[in-house]
Each structure stands twice: as structure tokens, then as C-alpha cells.
Amino acid sequence: MTEIADWRPGLRLLRAALRGTRAPVLRVAAWSAVEAAPALASGWVLGRALDQGFLDGRPATGLAWLTLLGVLYALRAAAERAVFEPLSHIVEPLRDELVRRLVHGTLYAAVHRVRTADATDVARLTGQVEAVRGIVGALLRTARPLAVTLVAALTGLAVLDPLLAALVGVPLAVAVVVFLVSMRTVIRRRQSYLAAEERVAAVTGEVLAAGRDITALGAEERAASDVRDAADASVATALAVARASAVRAPVVLLGGRLPVLLILLTGPALVQRGGVSAGAVVGAVMYVTVYLVPALELMTGSVAGYWSQLRVLSGRLAAASDVPDVPGVSNDPVPVPAPVSVSVSVSVSAQDVVAEVPREGDLEVRNLTFAYGPHAAPVLRGLDLVVPSGDNLAIVGPSGIGKSTLAGLLAGVETPLDGTVTMAGQPVRPGRVALLPQEAYVFPGTVGDNLRYLAPDLDTAALDRAVAAVGARELVARLGGYDAELTDPAGTLSSGERQLIALARVYASPARVVVLDEATSHLDMAAEAVAETAFAARPGTLVVIAHRLTTAARARRVLLLDGERPVLGSHAELSATSPAYAALVGHWTAQAPRVPQGSRAGRP
């Protein structure tokens, strides 16, 4: 049996999201009091109307009392109308704040790899924010008058006749206690239900994401059965919640119906003794049936459901919007040192900069060690490397050896276990080194927005130069120029096209060190050559994670990562001295038989 989850993080989140809504809350409370007036007065007024009017042969007096009731009703309608304005000032800002926190928390966690989130999580979170919005709105609309009504009706009853009030009050109190105790089970089962629904979302998300693969595998039945299992579990937990919630009926019987029975059974004695008037009996029954019973039904029904849902949901949202303290990572934008004014024009070469001062493009790696976990074998151990400004370094090695990891370390995206990576004497940090990963990031927006991502103030001429340099001119023209809107880049652009846009973006950026992590993998070789040549001619330092020989051959120096000892040298040196490199090159050149008539090399 699962324990009820800690309610405090959820409560903190709600409280924070409701901050600044004091004024509307007070207004809602004030209008609630007005709304409760009919509940307070109705039974009493009806009793009067009967005793002094209709039963006494004076219909005019009765009508006058009822007119008073009509006025109270009109007042309630006015209050009902007025309450919506402050309500929307509570609920809408609440949703806005929840969305803001969630977006921040989710993005932050993904960017700093604290948690990952996928389409399913986003869909789930969206649904949960909406649910919280709906529940808070509904609670404020229905539960708010509830408490007021209960108090008002009991007060009205007490004024009418204290003895009748006692007959009503005692069973009511017992019913409320029974109900509150039963809430624990309801909340626990609702947690299971929510977990089951999350499982449905997770399985569905996975299955639908793999749609193409499932079609190709002909595994539709298996995929559907995965979804069905999750859906069945959800039905079972939903039923368990409903069974636990069924306690509401006995609670209403106990708290709302039993008092009426008591009044009916003791009524004759009370009326005959003369202490209680006929009008008072009718009024008391009216209080109970018209106000108390609906209020009890509301409390045990929707309000209980809302409350238990709110507890569970706010906890989930709190977990997703949580921004943990990651050591060494600031939550605020890092103040970037005054940017070195760099012209993208190719005429300024790195050699123009005086060599004595540490230059913006100097990368220095000292004793670098990195592992993915405290017990994992290090991917890199004690690496030393100096890449002077203007250098062009290719990193090669078999897959899984840690090339991408090194790229991340050079860009300050990964934190080393030991050792340092510095640029111009300063530790590298995200934003100073431009890292271009294999999966190019192109977001919905204009082509220009995407190209200016790293340099918002860039003029069209500079964009033109960058686009032309990396060979993206044709693509940009086809898309419709810089102002063309890309509504669904992931769906409409190919991986290669997205890589071209990202390449142009980085080319146009002011970064003096560029790390291309297989960033041209989806381009054909000609396009790749154009892009890499452009980056080599760009002022500053270029590090390329290579997956083709051509890249290594183009670079000024090559770092071979291969097991224990990395080797550094030019393509020619390594080809001559490193057996491991020669093996790699052997494979690479076998790919490109220079003599076309040669036997089909490598064909078994």
C-alpha cells in the first residue's frame, strides 16, 4: 500500500503561484458573504411567512416576507456575477505562473541534464496545469459558498430554534468526521490512478514515437497490447477511486437525512409542548433539505474529488518545476565579459593578434579526466592539450571512445572530474565557445531569427556572408529569405538542411572557438567540404570531431583518441607513426578507391 505523498512541495508551489492575489481573494470572500445571505435567511423567512402570514390568514404579510426573500435572491445573483471578475484574477495568474515555472523547470532540467522530458511529459504537464486551473476555479466557485452556506444554515437554524439546531448539528458533525477519515483512502487511491494514467501516457508516447519502426516491424499488435495493458490498469484504479468515493452516500444519509427524520419523529412532541411553532418545523426542514443536503453532497462529491486531485497534481507539478541547485551552474544569466569585437569578415586573421597576451581563441586542456559516474571507468584520463588561437584540430577515433564528451568538455558543457579547460586563461563556460552538436537545433521562427540566435544584432550583409560561406545560400533562397517563417522545422527540413542553418548560425557568431561535433554528418561530402573549408578560413580556433578521413586530412593537426594514450600530430605524421591511425586511415582510404578499375575493395 503506497503512502500518501508529501503534500508540502505541492502546497509551496500553489502558495507561490497564488502570490499577489490577496486583493481578489478578499473580494471573493466579501461577495461570498453576500451570496450566503439567502441561505442564512430563507428558512427563517419562510417560517415567518407561514406563522405570521399564510397560516395566520394574513397573506399580505406572507407575501411581504417572501418579497424580502426575492430581494435577497437578487442580491445573490448580483454577487454571483461580481465574483467572476476577481475569480479570473486568481485563476488565470495562477495558471500563468504554473506554466512559467514548469517551462523554466523543464527546460532547465533538460539543458543541465537533471531530468529529461519528452513529448509525453510535456503533454502530461499541460494536462495537469489545466486540471489544477480547473480545480482551483471550481473549488473557488463551488466550495467557497459551501463553508459559508453550512455556517449560515446552522446559524439560521439556531436562531429559529436551538433544540432543532442540536437535532441537526450532532449527526452532521459525526458525518463530517467520518467523511474526513475516509478521505485518506480516496487520496491514496487517486495517487495510484494518476500513476496509472501517467503510465498510459508514457507507453502511448513511446509507441507513437516509434510509429515508423512499428510499421516496418509489423509489430502493431504488440504495440497495441502494451497500450491496452496500461489502459486496463488505469480502468482498475479509476474503479478503486470510485469505490472509495462511494462513502459519500452514507455520509449524506447520516448528516443530511437523519436530522430530518429526527425532527419528524420528535416533532409532534415538540409542537404539542408548544415550544416549537409549525413555521419553525417547516423552516428547519427547509434549511436541511434545501441547503444542508446539497452542501453535504457538494462537499463529499465534487469538493472531495477536487481536493484529492489538487493534492496529487500540485505535487507532480512541483516535482516538474523544481529547479535544483546544480553546483557550478548559476540559474541567472551569466554576465558575459565585454565581447571582443570580431568582424566576421574573413580578412581579419588570427595571426594579426599579438601573441604574448592570452588570446581569446587559445584553448588549454590540463590533466583532463572525465567519467559518466563515480564508479564508471573514465572516458578520458589526464589529457593535456594546447590548441592555440587560429589552430584547426580534428579529433578522430572509433565510436564510443569519448569524442563527443571531449567536445562537450572543450565547450564547457560537461564538467570534468578532474583537470581544467581554459580559454585565454579563463575556465571555459557555456556561451564562450560555440559548440555545434550533430543534432542541429532549428526552432520555429523566421530563418533570420535562427541565424541570429548567437548574435542578435547581426546585419543582413553579415548574414549573407555567413550563409554564402557555409553553402546555405540555395537553401535560404528556397525557404524564402531571412523573413520566411519556419513553422515546423523538425517536420519540414531534412537533417542536412537543419545542419546547414546551424552551421551558418555558428559561422556568424562572435565565438573565437568553434567546436563542430559531427555537425556536418547529414551533408553530402561536397557540402561538408564547403562548410569545413569555410570554418577553417574563419578567424579563430576550429575543433572538428571527424567521422570522415577528409575532415582529418583537411585539419592542421589531428588528435587520435584510441584507448589509453591519445596521440597528437599532423595527418601525415600520424599516418606514418601511429599504427592505430594507419588502421583507421586504411579503412578510410579503402572506402575511396583512387583507382576506379581496382577490384571491389572490401567486398567479401
Binding site: 506554466v99 516496418a216 437525512r257 426542514v285 551569466v334 550533430q438 561530402m525 579503412h587 572506402q591 567486398r603
Partner: protein, 545 residues
């Protein structure tokens, strides 16, 4: 449900009798007990009804969910909406839409109950009934207008919400770039841009509710006061007893209940919007499979023929009248520059690409005539970016073929060079997929193993399936695969020269047409063909060392 509403309907009349009994001072507890029994029965009914209603709604939701999920799975990659929306439809919209029948049933019973209550009013005190009957039509008009406006606004609300979700998803896909560029805050602002619109639509919904609720409230309350006054006069004139006055009030409440369900109307309106979304998805026609090949030719199988195949996307012709014959048992490389139509063509044999014109034949049988099972058995795919799915690694490799043995799984993994790193995982092949972090190359190898575990296919399509491997591993995998699949038809989308050189034939694609079909060695003399693999030599020669 009917019994429950019967008890509800009897209650006010019995209560009236009981109260009158009290007021007359008769010591007879009979009416009070009758009332109590009926009320208790009603309570029991309700206690039973609630789980029943939930059960009904849950079953309806489940049925709709499964229908939708099956439909979406059947559509495969051809889904009409973004991924997030598809998932939301299965998780949320189907549940909302599933509530419609139960909600409608409750609505109908409540309405019927209200009508009975109204009938009682007419027979007991027609004056009160008349007052109510005058108010009811106005309330209905108010409600109808409300539903129309809410449905419309709700759709606008969902649209803004979806926009934020999609922006967030895009940003998540660029997490590494965002981290490296230190642009988290700019991204946050970009994702949240539609929030003001969402907020505005949200407030508009409140305004619509406000306008309706107070009109409703006032209408009902004033009607109640009026009816009480009429009934009160009735008491004075002796037409009604005080208890009957209570009954009039009680039945009036019941009659109102049909009108009072603004929340129910709102839920129904939202459920209707959700049902519309689900219906739109279900209306997308699923792929139609044939009745079977009726045997087909025996002997060597796996010959493919493309007859004047044209494929268009968004008005652009991507494959243009392609004619191609692939003899059974050969390995054929598809070569061409980016966007020459290689992957589209590779999708044809498994109907992942549907031709707009022309036809595709497998062993002389139209693909459209094959059943889904026949087609999937005959054609196996491996992708550049396989999406792995399953519980454990074993399950992932055997996905969709539950009877694949461990030995077969291991054999496939060895061929794909995935065996080594799988064995190093904490529980080897029984390691849960989610707790096995894999690089792109490792995922590719597991995906390839999944394809090779299907060892009975006639055609294997390898769509850039080894692009993430380094050259050494790639060469090993290629050799192993070539050995294992000897004699089967292979269609290999190739970016590397070695891959093309290893195949029996090369199909050279340019601008959506077949430019040449010949062995690699023959084509290699053509500079334009070499240019597809591009500038390898020149770049090496240019290298200043």
C-alpha cells in the same frame, strides 16, 4: 439509475405528508418512516451508482483510447498531427470524449426526473407550475447560447496551449545547443511568448461564464420566490397544507436541476470539443492492405519491380516516374546526393512510402495485394535512427516477435556488433531498456540487431543503418551482415564509397530519377558519380602539410 431517480422523486411528497403529520400532531410515525425508507434506498442506489457511472465512463474511455491508439499505430509515421497532440488525444481527449455517453445518460435521467417533478407540480398546484414553465424556456435559450460560445473559445484556448507545448518540445530537442550557447533565458521567453494570448482567451472564458451564471441564478431564484408566494397564498386559501408547500419547494428544486447544470454543460461542451478532435484523427484513412498473394511464385524470392513510380510531397515531385528492377538475392546500393530521393525510394518496398502514381511489385505481386502480415514478413527495415522500444534489451531486439529465442537474439546482436556492449550491461540482455544508456552508434547497432533477428525476410532495406559507426566497426558490421544475408535481396542506402563498392549493383539517383544502374566499378569512371561521394582526393591533395 431509474430507481435512484424514483426515490428522489418520491421524497418531497412523502416529506410533505410527514411534516403535515407532525403539524397535525398525530403521533403516527408512519409517514416519517416511509420517507426515511425511501431516502435510505435512494442513498444505497447512489452508493452503487457512483462506481457504476465511473466504470461506464472508464470503459468507454478505454474503448475509445484503444480504437484511437490502434488507429494511430496503424497510421505509423503518417500521422496527421504533431506527436504531442497524438499523445494528448489518447491520454486526455479520449477520456473526455469517453465521458459523453455517461454524462448524456445522467443528463437525460435528470431531465426526465425534472419532467416528472414538473408534472407533479401541475397536478398539485397548477399556478406554481405555470410560473416555472414560463421561466424554463428563457433558461434554455441562455444555456444554448452559452454552449456555442464556450465551445468556440475553448478551441482557441487549446490552440494557444498547444503552441506553448510545441515550442517547449522544440526547445527540449535543442537542449545541448541551448546549454552550449547559454541561451536558456532567451529560450524560456520564446516558449512563453503565446502565454499572454492563452491568458487573454482564458479570461474571455470567465467572462462568458459570468454572463451566463448570474442570468441563470437570478432567473431561478426569482422563479422560486414567485412559486413560494403562490404556494403561500394557497396555504392561506386552504388549497395547500404547509407540508405541501415544502413539497412544492422540493419539486421545484428537482425541476430546476435540469437547468441548473451549468458545470455539466461546460463539461459536455469540452467533451464535445475533445470528441471532435478524436473524430478528426479517426477520419484519416488507415493504410489498406490486400487479401493475400495467393501463394506467389516459389523458389528464390525477393525480386522487386518499380513501375513508373512517382512520389510527391507538398506539390513537389520527389520521385519522378522511376522504373527499376531489382533481381532477387542481390545487394543493391542506393546512391545519390542529399534529397535525391534515396530514403523515399527505400521506403517503397515496405509501403513506408506510398507512391502517388505507379506501382511496386514484390515477386510479381502488387504490394497492395499483400496482407500486412505477408508484407512485414517479406520486407525488413533497419534505420539510420532506429527508435528502440521494449522492456528489456532482449525484448527490444525481439519486439513484435515474442517467440524469438535468446539464442536468436544473441546471434542477431553478434552480427550487428551489439553483443559486446550489451553483455557489459548490468543484467546483459535482461537489462531494462530505460536503464541502458546508449550512444547513437550503439542504438543503431541494437536497431540493426532487431532487423537481423527477423531472419526469414526476403528483402532487407538498410536505410543508412550504419552511419553512426566509426569506419572500423562499420566495416566489421558490413562484412557480418553481408555474410548473414547472402542470397537475400538487400537495398542499402549508402553514403560511403565502401558501402556502395561492397554491393552487387548501384542504383544512382539524381533529382528523383534513376540516372544509372550498374556495378560500382563501372560507374566509378564517371566523374559525376565520383562527385556524389565528392572531392575526397582533391581535399587530401589540397592539404598543405
Amino acid at each position: 439509475m431509474l430507481l435512484h431517480s424514483a426515490t428522489v422523486l418520491l421524497t418531497p411528497a412523502l416529506l410533505a405528508a410527514a411534516v403535515d403529520g407532525v403539524l397535525r400532531g398525530s403521533g403516527d410515525p408512519g409517514p416519517a418512516v416511509e420517507w426515511a425508507v425511501v431516502v435510505a434506498v435512494g442513498g444505497v442506489c447512489e452508493a452503487l451508482l457512483m462506481p457504476l457511472g465511473t466504470f461506464g465512463a472508464a470503459c468507454d474511455a478505454r474503448r475509445l483510447r484503444m480504437r484511437l491508439a490502434r488507429h494511430l499505430i496503424g497510421l505509423g509515421a503518417r500521422r496527421p498531427q504533431p506527436h504531442g497532440e497524438s499523445v494528448t488525444q489518447v491520454t486526455q481527449a479520449a477520456v473526455q470524449a469517453g465521458m459523453v455517453p455517461v454524462a448524456l445518460a445522467q443528463w437525460t435521467v435528470t431531465l426526465a426526473g425534472s419532467l416528472v417533478a414538473l408534472a407533479w407540480l401541475w397536478t398539485t398546484d397548477w399556478r406554481s407550475a405555470l410560473a416555472f414553465s414560463l421561466a424554463a424556456p428563457i433558461a434554455v435559450v441562455v444555456a444554448r447560447r452559452f454552449i456555442g460560445r464556450v465551445t468556440e473559445t475553448h478551441s482557441a484556448y487549446l490552440a494557444s496551449q498547444g503552441e506553448i507545448a510545441n515550442r517547449l518540445l522544440t526547445a527540449l530537442s535543442g537542449a545541448r545547443t541551448i546549454r552550449a550557447s547559454d541561451t536558456l533565458h532567451a529560450e524560456r521567453a520564446r516558449v512563453l511568448e503565446p502565454l499572454s494570448e492563452l491568458s487573454a482567451v482564458g479570461r474571455r472564458m470567465w467572462r462568458i461564464q459570468r454572463g451566463t451564471v448570474w442570468q441563470f441564478g437570478l432567473l431561478l431564484s426569482l422563479t422560486e420566490a414567485l412559486v413560494l408566494a403562490i404556494a403561500g397564498l394557497g396555504v392561506t386559501q386552504g388549497r395547500l397544507s404547509p407540508g405541501q408547500l415544502l413539497a412544492v419547494a422540493g419539486y421545484l428544486q428537482l425541476a430546476f436541476q435540469a437547468l441548473r447544470q451549468i458545470e455539466a454543460l461546460l463539461t459536455l461542451a469540452q467533451a464535445r470539443a475533445a470528441a471532435d478532435r478524436v473524430a478528426a484523427t479517426l477520419a484519416v484513412p488507415p493504410p489498406v492492405y490486400g487479401r493475400g498473394s495467393a501463394g506467389g511464385p516459389a523458389g528464390v524470392r525477393g525480386s522487386l519491380s518499380l513501375r513508373k513510380v512517382t512520389v510527391r510531397r507538398d506539390g513537389e515531385t520527389l520521385l519522378d516516374g522511376v522504373d527499376l528492377d531489382v533481381p532477387a538475392g542481390l545487394s543493391v546500393a542506393l546512391v545519390g546526393r542529399t534529397a535525391s530521393g534515396k530514403s523515399l525510394l527505400a521506403g517503397l518496398p515496405g509501403r513506408l512510402t506510398e507512391p502517388d502514381e505507379g506501382e511496386v511489385l514484390l515477386d510479381g505481386v502488387h504490394l497492395r495485394d499483400l496482407t500486412a502480415a505477408e508484407l512485414r514478413r517479406a520486407v525488413a527495415y533497419a534505420f539510420e535512427r532506429p527508435l528502440l522500444i521494449g522492456t528489456t534489451l532482449h525484448d527490444t531486439i525481439a519486439y513484435g516477435r515474442p517467440d524469438t529465442s535468446r539464442a536468436a537474439v544473441e546471434r542477431a546482436a553478434r552480427l550487428a556488433r551489439a553483443d559486446g556492449f550489451v553483455r557489459r550491461l548490468p543484467d546483459g540482455y535482461d537489462t531494462p531498456l530505460h536503464s541502458a544508456p546508449m550512444s547513437g552508434g550503439e542504438r543503431q547497432r541494437v536497431g540493426l540487431a532487431r532487423t537481423l533477428a527477423r531472419d526469414d525476410a526476403h528483402v532487407y532495406v538498410l536505410d543508412d543503418a550504419t552511419s553512426g559507426l566509426d569506419t572500423v566497426t562499420e566495416a566489421e558490421v558490413s562484412e557480418a551482415v553481408t555474410g548473414a544475408l547472402a542470397g537475400r535481396t538487400r537495398l542499402v542506402v549508402a553514403h560511403r564509397v565502401t558501402t556502395a563498392a561492397r554491393c552487387d549493383l548501384v542504383v544512382w539517383l539524381a533529382d528523383g530519377r534513376v540516372r544509372a544502374v550498374a556495378p560500382h566499378t563501372e560507374l566509378w569512371s564517371d566523374p559525376a558519380y565520383r562527385a556524389v561521394f565528392a572531392v575526397e582526393e582533391s581535399a587530401v591533395e589540397e592539404e598543405p602539410s
